[in-house]
């Protein structure tokens, strides 16, 4: 009897590789089996063996935690549910291309009459995957080579290597990821990298070569990241015409910093959320572990989302940050904050608010920015349920300020300074969600409170961003 049910059941919830859609399958399965459920649900069973087949380089002890829960099942439905959860957990490890579950009655000498065996048939990912891209743009061509070694040592370790060779710049990144067995969210990452950035708003070119170690762990509702980073920074002028203030910052420096990030994210989506809140607090202490740069940097990000009338969403966000140089040395242009652009204070040029010298923006040691948005679906909802859901229209009101503080003055003076010369803007536009990592915005903006030296974008502004106000 058991054989018949189990054999016919097993492929049902286990099709596909997709990680997120199987709840529907489960429901469908349950209704289908309703006639037999009365017999099965009350019947006690014992899971005698759980096997994993198809293991090559993956170490069996690494998977023990993920599948051990299956042993606690008391009836057949329970076995299937728990097996399904175990399958999800296995797939999440990033070791397997596919996992199938087989439930069968126990056989052999010690088999109990109500004993079941659960077998996970896994297909491992290839030892190495590679990718090759070429990119052309902005007077520069580059070739990007990527190598990935999933599950390199058999316990979920992942090594990735990316190398980009361009006509102007080369950059690379090497990273090694190691999760704690049985607790995938607790993991360690090591990075080695070289990146080059060009910042035309500051006429600045920066080359960073660095190593970092990062420890991630969840704690109650929050996720924490502890990081140490040692980076050799080389700053230079982007052009001969760069202002002397930027020229003075040229040269080499070493930053060694400890940082801690705490985040609570209850939003239902990272890019176009309907409900939920995000709070992220980041603090960085540089100089304590050596290096030339010494400062304490605090950065806070808060976002609240609420469903509003007719499928629209009301969203409010607030950012703030402060950089305190330690030991009398002025802060570096590479460490300071920048504000403005199509996804922060809209209506202003990219990072073009605040202190500047001959048109090169030098950044500030303190900033705040806030935004109020009303997101609505597209008018008349074209492409509903499909392509159209990637778009929203929005109305926004942004405000912010970026300046340098004199740390001899008290907090009152600081607050006063932050409240002076507030830049703000309002407008409306279109938002397009790109995957679940970035968004594109096309806005009509009206900047207000423009200060001398700010670069504005009065009218249509287009831009993309990962972080948005």
């Amino acid at each position: 009897m058991g054989t018949v049910h189990a054999r016919s059941l097993d492929p049902l919830p286990m099709q596909g590789r997709d990680l997120g859609v199987n709840h529907d399958d489960m429901e469908g399965m349950e209704t289908e089996q309703e006639t037999k459920q009365e017999i099965l649900e009350n019947r006690n069973i014992v899971v005698q063996h759980v096997n994993i087949e198809g293991l090559g380089r993956t170490k069996e002890d690494y998977l023990g935690h993920e599948i051990s829960d299956v042993f606690n099942a008391k009836n057949l439905i329970d076995v299937m549910k728990r097996s399904h959860d175990a399958r999800m957990k296995l797939l999440r490890l990033g070791c397997f291309k596919d996992v199938e579950v087989l439930i069968d009655v126990s056989e052999g000498a010690d088999a109990l009459p109500n004993g079941l065996d659960v077998t996970f048939e896994v297909t491992e990912l290839k030892r190495m995957t590679g990718s090759y891209n070429t990119m052309v743009g902005n007077n520069e061509g580059s070739m990007v080579l990527g190598l990935k070694l999933p599950n390199a040592l058999g316990r979920g370790e992942k090594a990735t290597f990316q190398f980009s060779y361009g006509t102007k710049e080369t950059s690379y990144g090497l990273s090694f990821f190691k999760p704690q067995p049985g607790n995938f969210e607790r993991n360690l990452t090591l990075n080695l990298y070289k990146v080059t950035g060009q910042f035309p708003w500051s006429s600045l070119k920066e080359t960073d070569r660095g190593v970092s170690t990062e420890l991630n762990f969840p704690l109650w509702m929050t996720t924490h990241t502890l990081k140490w980073e040692g980076v050799w920074r080389e700053l230079g002028c982007l052009a001969r015409s760069a202002s002397f203030a930027v020229r003075e910052e040229s040269g080499h420096s070493l930053k060694s910093s400890l940082s801690h990030t705490m985040a609570i994210d209850t939003r239902n989506s990272a890019i176009l959320p309907r409900r939920g809140a995000l709070l992220r607090i980041n603090q960085e202490l540089a100089g304590y572990t050596g290096g030339d740069a010494s400062f304490l940097k605090e950065d806070v990000e808060l976002q609240l989302n609420r469903p509003f009338l007719f499928g629209s969403v009301l969203s409010a966000s607030l950012w703030g940050g402060m950089l305190m140089p330690i030991g009398g040395k002025p802060s570096s242009i590479a460490d300071r904050f920048y504000l403005g652009g199509p996804t922060s204070v809209r209506g202003f040029g990219m990072y073009s608010i605040g202190p500047q010298s001959e048109g090169d923006y030098l950044g500030g040691e303190a900033y705040w920015a806030g935004g109020l948005h009303l997101y609505t679906p597209l008018p008349f909802r074209p492409g509903r349920g499909g392509f159209g859901d990637l778009f929203r229209t929005h109305f926004f009101l942004n405000a912010g300020n970026l300046c340098n503080l004199n740390y001899g003055e008290g907090p009152r003076a600081h607050l006063q300074k932050m409240a002076e010369c507030i830049r703000w803007s309002y407008g409306a536009g279109l938002v397009l969600r790109l995957g679940n990592i970035a968004r594109l915005e096309l806005n009509y903006c009206i900047p207000m409170g423009v200060q001398n030296g700010d670069r504005i974008c009065d009218g249509v502004q287009f831009g993309a961003g990962i972080r948005f106000l």
Binding site: A239, S241, F244, S250, G251, H252, L254, G290
Partner: protein, 273 residues
């Protein structure tokens, strides 16, 4: 900025008079600067003093990286940044200050040739001794060059610089030379300069030119800088007319300037007198 626009800006700058706040940037004079950079910086300072153009000397640990050509010294005049003696001479000429105006074409060509000789022989020899002689590189050049930086960046930058200079030496065929051969080259160069100078006040009669500034910068610095051995200074000391030439320039342009205005900064340091 396009080339045409840049040329236009420099034309505009040329029309402006020499400002009071002109500044010369060089590495930290006490703990960082090396013989070759010090010589180049002194040459520019001497040149500007000969032109009677006031300049304030500012020492920065990152002077080399601030310079648009990656070489020190450089001057910041108005909103223009110009590095190295050659371009600075051109720049002052555009502003109407020149020391070689009175020379005829033959003399000017001769002056250029001697300047090339100094740059190719004396400067290259200084670089060779600094970075290719292991004891000088290890005891003086690397520790001094990297003094503003913290470990491990100090090591990386010092070895990177050494590697860069050695690669240059390879390219110009100096890598195979022994220290003795380099000293011999310095000797020959000084011989040539000494013969050209003869008993004159300056290389071209009674008026100093940029060649005088350049020779003064190098000879003076070689004589007053302590290295692991005295061999280099000893070679130069053999030429008495070069010695008195250096003393004369020091007296005329540095001592007098110091007496006349207390505010004028001179970072020349040691003295021959």
């Amino acid at each position: 900025m396009s080339l045409a626009a840049e040329a236009f800006v420099s034309q505009m700058a040329a029309a402006e008079p020499w400002p009071e706040n002109a500044t010369l940037y060089q590495p930290l004079s006490d703990e960082q600067i090396l013989l070759s950079d010090n010589a180049s910086s002194l040459a520019v300072q001497a040149y500007l003093k000969m032109c009677a153009l006031p300049v304030r000397v500012s020492c920065r640990a990152n002077a080399e990286f601030m310079s648009p050509s990656g070489k020190v010294p450089f001057i910041h005049v108005g909103n223009q940044v110009v590095s190295e003696l050659g371009p600075i001479v051109q720049f002052t000429k555009a502003k109407g200050h020149s020391l070689s105006e009175g020379l005829d074409d033959v003399q000017r060509a001769e002056m250029k040739a001697y300047m090339e000789l100094v740059n190719n022989m004396l400067l290259t020899a200084e670089l060779y001794i600094q970075w290719c002689d292991d004891s000088t590189a290890g005891e003086i050049s690397r520790p001094r060059y990297s003094s503003p930086y913290s470990w491990p960046l100090s090591h990386i930058l010092a070895y990177q610089k050494q590697w860069e200079v050695r690669r240059k030496m390879n390219a110009i065929g100096w890598a195979g030379k022994s220290l003795e051969q380099v000293y011999e080259d310095v000797n020959e160069c000084c011989q040539a300069l000494s013969q050209r100078l003869g008993t004159q006040l300056y290389f071209f009669n009674k008026q100093p030119t940029e060649l005088d500034a350049l020779v003064f910068g190098h000879i003076f610095t070689i004589l007053t800088t302590r290295l692991t051995s005295d061999a280099l200074a000893e070679r130069v000391k053999g030429f008495s007319n070069l010695l008195s030439f250096c003393k004369r320039i020091e007296q005329t342009f540095f001592e007098e300037a110091d007496q006349s205005s207390a505010s004028s900064l001179h970072s020349k340091g040691p003295s021959l007198l």
